[in-house]
């Protein structure tokens, strides 16, 4: 059995990866992907915690994280479609710099 601490370390690595992804990436889709990674890292951490304490609560929390993250991404993708229609680009830095028309 994998010790739960190692799962936590993996979760931390995933989380940091996600953070770096959000900060570095310019494309909206990739940013959403990185956020998803962060959420899943948290979920993994919850499962690990659940294993540490022998309780099912963490796993239940993970089941809650999944649809929430999915809904978030769904809305994010819908906005991405609209953004692309309007700005013709998904580059976040360009969009952030755009003045009002």
């Amino acid at each position: 059995m994998l010790p739960a601490e190692q799962a936590l370390i993996l979760a931390a690595i995933l989380f940091v990866t996600g953070v770096i992804g959000v900060i570095v990436r310019r494309n909206l889709i990739f940013v959403l992907m990185s956020v998803e990674i962060m959420f899943n890292a948290a979920g993994l951490a919850f499962v690990a915690g659940s294993a540490l304490h022998g309780q099912p609560d963490g796993q239940i929390f993970f089941i809650f994280i999944l649809p929430v993250a999915a809904a978030e991404v769904a809305i994010g993708l819908a906005l991405a479609v609209l953004v692309f229609q309007k700005y013709r680009t998904l580059d976040l830095w360009t969009i952030a710099r755009s003045r009002e028309e």
């Binding site: 959000v22 948290a42 690990a48 929390f61 929430v68 809305i75 906005l79 953004v83 755009s98």
Partner: protein, 467 residues
Amino acid sequence: MSQLATLAPDIIMAFGGTLVLLLGTRRSDKAVNDFLRWLSVIIIGGAALALAYTRPNSLPAAEGWIISSSINIVFGVIFLAILAWTVLAAKAPEHAAGEWHALLIYAGNGMLILARSGSLAALFLGIEILSLSLYVLISFFCHRGMALRGGTMYLVLAAFASAFLVFGLALVYASFGTLDLAELAQRVSSKGLFHAPMAMLGFGLFIVGVGFKLAAVPFHMWAADVYEASPGPVAGLIASASKGAVIAAFIPFLFLVNTHGDILWLISAASMIVGNLMGLLELRVKRILAYSSIAHIGYILVGYLAGYNGVGITGVGAMIFYVVAYALAIAGAFTALSFIERDHELGVRDLRGVARVSPALAFCILVFIISLAGIPPAIGFFGKLYLFSAGVSAGYIWLPVLGLLGSAIGVYYYLRIIVNLYMTPGENPNLKISYTPLQISIIIATAAAIVFFGCFPQTMITALKLF
């Protein structure tokens, strides 16, 4: 069965919201619009009634995820009231009234869960439901101005912060092994946090996430752009109820003041100073209000640091009072400003001439601004007095002093709004102000309430203690 009674408000809101959503797909014209608006108000009212009749300290529902002690019920009623206010005062889009009202109700649902959360899971759920609804509401009028940009920015940053928040909660869970807030508080106070670095880190990340939601310094950069991009009433809702809901959910974590108190102190002080200073540079009204909002969060955090200490009004009591006082003023201000039609972002120059075209509206805006600035006879004066008194009696001398100095600095940009509203001749001959009779009566009633409770604050305090 009693669990159902405790969950009744949430059930009403969730199903009601879906009902409104489904009904809205049939037709969209003015009659349907009005019908949906009143239906939404009835749903919210029903939820509020169900909430108000929940006996305090009745059984928690859903394995303790939703608790209903008096403070939770008070917060729940406050947020539902603000939501109903927003529903009535906002101008719903004609083509998508169903979605608009449904989203507002779902946002209210999120706020309700936050107000009555008894577990980390409920906390997360509430924040997410609220945020998801807000993402769409902000970018609702996607063809207008910067709405889409604001919505996207808010989505990216808020999702980022939520992820921080939930990862922090995961670390806390891994340390302490419980999701229940009461249990958590007990385990933290018995074991102490300093022996659990993972939990310290977890709570730190949690504070980062919460700080973002509240737009406290240094997580405040999104506030100005997003507030400006949102439709007026939605900005009012974000500034008042959504922040209030996060505060309500944050209250059970008061034990953090012992360990992370310094960080919270810094966040509060920085918000008060930076928020007020940056507002001085702004010339667009909604951005000014956004920065003032940042400063107000600083003030509220003073009350948070005071916790349950305090004079006749505790820090927590002062926070509840301030949430109400602030909500009246900021929601009113944003909504009143949205009545002024313009094709570019509202600058202070655009306020000129409003007093001549619509004196009632201008006077209401004046009352809102006075309340935000904390000047009698508006209720904001007593709100600040209570917050800072609670802070001083809990032993924080410098923080309230900083807060008062910050307000003195901030008065300048409030004056700028008033000066442009009343004391400079209008430049724009095409100034057009549009509102329905319902909207203006709500605004006037809000202004009257601000003055009334500003002269007789005890009535509000007693009412809040009723629950």
